[in-house]
């Protein structure tokens, strides 16, 4: 089975300047595979090239070089568009249509019969949490409601692959929770979800794999669990039978000490300190070891490190 999404050396330059234009590279040789049924998080700071990538996949932009395939066929192919859904960043729809009318209109573009259109529209609007607002003109809806309508229209053809550009943007915590559970439901149905975000907690909650984009280049890509398991930042040791006074001699070897219960402490120490020697010394001071856990960087720390490294590499440092 071909990957659901595949890009090969996908590159996009924009002409900048008014009179003597020069190219500015927005996306640099992006090569990426997303397997069918996967939830893939496309992460990066603002201006990294996430939206440019999504627009190239939707053929709203034409690549300078390279190619993009969706479901084994060139992106932009009409047969591909029948099988995908797309939520643009900060979507905006027709002022004078209602959510119901918009969805019915979009469903009709897929050749959906009238009777089925009604039922599908109602079901999707229920699923994204649009109630009586569905009969209001779209210009009267809040940003969060529009985002939900945007998500519903992306699913109107029961797509095999869904592209979501910053799907949590403009949503309150309840809305974000709803969208997260919707994405997980899509995954359970076997739908491939490709979503861009700069909110890392969303990626951590939803994605099997992530790609990190910085200044148009893919600086990291892989399973979240593997990415974060690779480097041990330090260790967390839980001990009992110690007091603040008996721990004081060890302060220089620890990065932090926290009391978690009577006589029980959580001690953090750097990866340069050998756990065996420290445990032996603590034991001779009367400590009993409860647990020892390696501390991995959070996605945020990993992200900051990768983005910083990507920027430095581009500057030739």
């Amino acid at each position: 089975m071909p990957p659901a999404i595949q890009t090969e050396q996908l590159t996009k330059d924009f002409a900048v300047g008014f009179w003597r234009t020069r190219p500015r590279r927005a996306l640099d040789a992006l090569t990426l595979d997303v397997a069918s049924g996967e939830v893939f998080g496309f992460l990066g700071p603002n201006g990294a090239g996430k939206t440019t990538t999504l627009k190239l996949l939707m053929q709203l932009l034409f690549p300078t070089s390279g190619r993009a395939l969706i479901l084994g066929r060139p992106a932009g192919d009409l047969s591909v568009r029948r099988r995908i859904g797309f939520l643009p960043e900060q979507p905006y729809f027709y002022d004078y249509l209602t959510a119901e009318e918009l969805l019915e209109y979009f469903a009709s573009l897929f050749g959906c019969p009238r009777s089925e259109r009604r039922a599908r529209t109602a079901r999707l609007l229920d699923e994204v949490g649009i109630g009586s607002e569905r009969r209001l003109a779209l210009r009267k809806l809040s940003k969060g409601m529009i985002q939900r309508v945007g998500l519903a229209q992306a699913l109107v053809n029961a797509p095999e692959v869904v592209f979501l550009d910053e799907p949590m943007s403009g949503l309150d915590p309840l809305g974000r929770r709803d969208i997260r559970s919707l994405v997980l439901r899509l995954r359970d149905r076997g739908c491939t979800v490709f979503f861009s975000s700069h909110i890392l907690s969303d990626a951590e909650a939803l994605c099997g794999r992530v790609g990190i984009l910085a200044r148009g280049r893919l600086v990291a890509c892989g399973r979240l669990s593997e990415m974060l398991a690779g480097d041990v930042r330090g260790w967390e040791l839980i001990v009992s039978g110690m007091t603040a006074e008996t721990l004081a001699p060890f302060a220089g070897r620890l990065t932090s000490t926290a009391r978690i219960a009577e006589g029980r402490h959580a001690l953090e120490f750097p990866r340069t300190t050998a756990p065996e020697a420290l445990i032996a010394d603590l034991a001779s001071a009367g400590a009993r070891v409860v647990s020892l856990t390696p501390v991995h960087p959070t996605l945020e720390e990993y992200f900051v490190e990768q983005v910083g490294r990507g920027g430095a590499a581009q500057r030739g440092e």
Binding site: M58, L61, R81, P88, Y96, Y105, L109, G111, Q153
Partner: protein
């Protein structure tokens, strides 16, 4: 190109336009103007039917023009500016189908509006002629509810389909403001193409003569559609004049829409 998709896009344009209050205001204003013509007719004995015909046809032309330009210039550029096009083009819709659908939608909108305005003109004329003595009727150049008015109204419609094609063409690459300026400029210049042809024959400079000749051939000839004076005075309109106008618009609009599709199909939406 799929006729079904074009029809669906056209239907959405029609619905959006009809719900847009600007459109209602224009129609209301047109109706007001016809009302004003009635008032004017009270002051000019014997000439009322002629004035109503003249004013009615002019109002149809002017308000139809406003609708064609002000909605036409935003047909594509507004979709791009507001980013509604992102969702639409992710659906199985070719860019050419989008352009054709937008055009068809506005043509339908203008047609419905002209039909309403035309019906109003006939109602007013019928009301004016109702109960008039036979000798008054005989003094008119043509019957009050002259069916030839339909020919003039049809040519107003044909002219407006060309204006829509021009506005849509500019809308595919220019902002609404620029597209409005370009469309209005072409519309005005298009009424003076005969003068351009004449200029080419009287100037001494061959360069200016060549330029005026070139412009004469490139600019749309809007004088072709103006049969108002003839119809108001009850003169016949030759069928080949109507056929020529229709043929001209089919070719000119077809060319413009072809160019619009060409530009729009290669455009990046940043």
């Amino acid at each position: 190109m799929s006729g079904r998709i074009i029809g669906l896009v056209a239907g959405a344009v029609f619905r959006e336009s009809v719900r847009d209050r600007v459109l209602y205001n224009l129609v209301a204003f047109a109706l007001l103007l016809i009302g004003a013509s009635l008032l004017l007719a009270q002051l000019t004995a014997g000439q009322d039917v002629k004035i109503v015909k003249d004013l009615g046809l002019s109002a149809m032309s002017v308000f139809g023009l406003f609708i064609a330009i002000f909605i036409g210039i935003g047909l594509v550029s507004k979709e791009v500016e507001r980013r509604t096009i992102y969702s639409l083009l992710a659906k199985p819709v070719r860019r050419s189908e989008l352009v054709a659908g937008k055009y068809a939608g506005l043509v339908l909108t203008v047609l419905v509006n002209l039909a309403v305005m035309g019906a109003m003109v006939y109602v007013v004329l019928a009301w004016l002629s109702w109960g008039q003595p036979a000798e008054v009727g005989r003094s008119w150049d043509a019957p009050a509810t002259d069916p030839r008015l339909l020919v003039a109204m049809f040519l107003v419609f044909v002219q407006l389909t060309l204006v829509i094609a021009i506005a849509l063409f500019f809308s595919t690459f220019a902002s609404p403001l620029l597209a409005a300026a370009f469309t209005a400029a072409l519309f005005i210049a298009g009424h003076f193409t005969a003068d351009l042809q004449h200029l080419g024959s009287v100037v001494k400079s061959p360069a200016v003569a060549l330029m005026s000749k070139g412009l004469y051939h490139v600019l749309p000839d809007f004088a072709l559609f103006d049969v108002k004076a003839a119809v108001v005075h009850g003169q016949p309109i030759a069928p080949n004049r109507v056929a020529l106008a229709v043929g001209y618009v089919v070719l000119y609009s077809g060319g413009l829409l072809g160019l619009a599709v060409l530009i729009f199909s290669r455009r990046d939406f940043k």
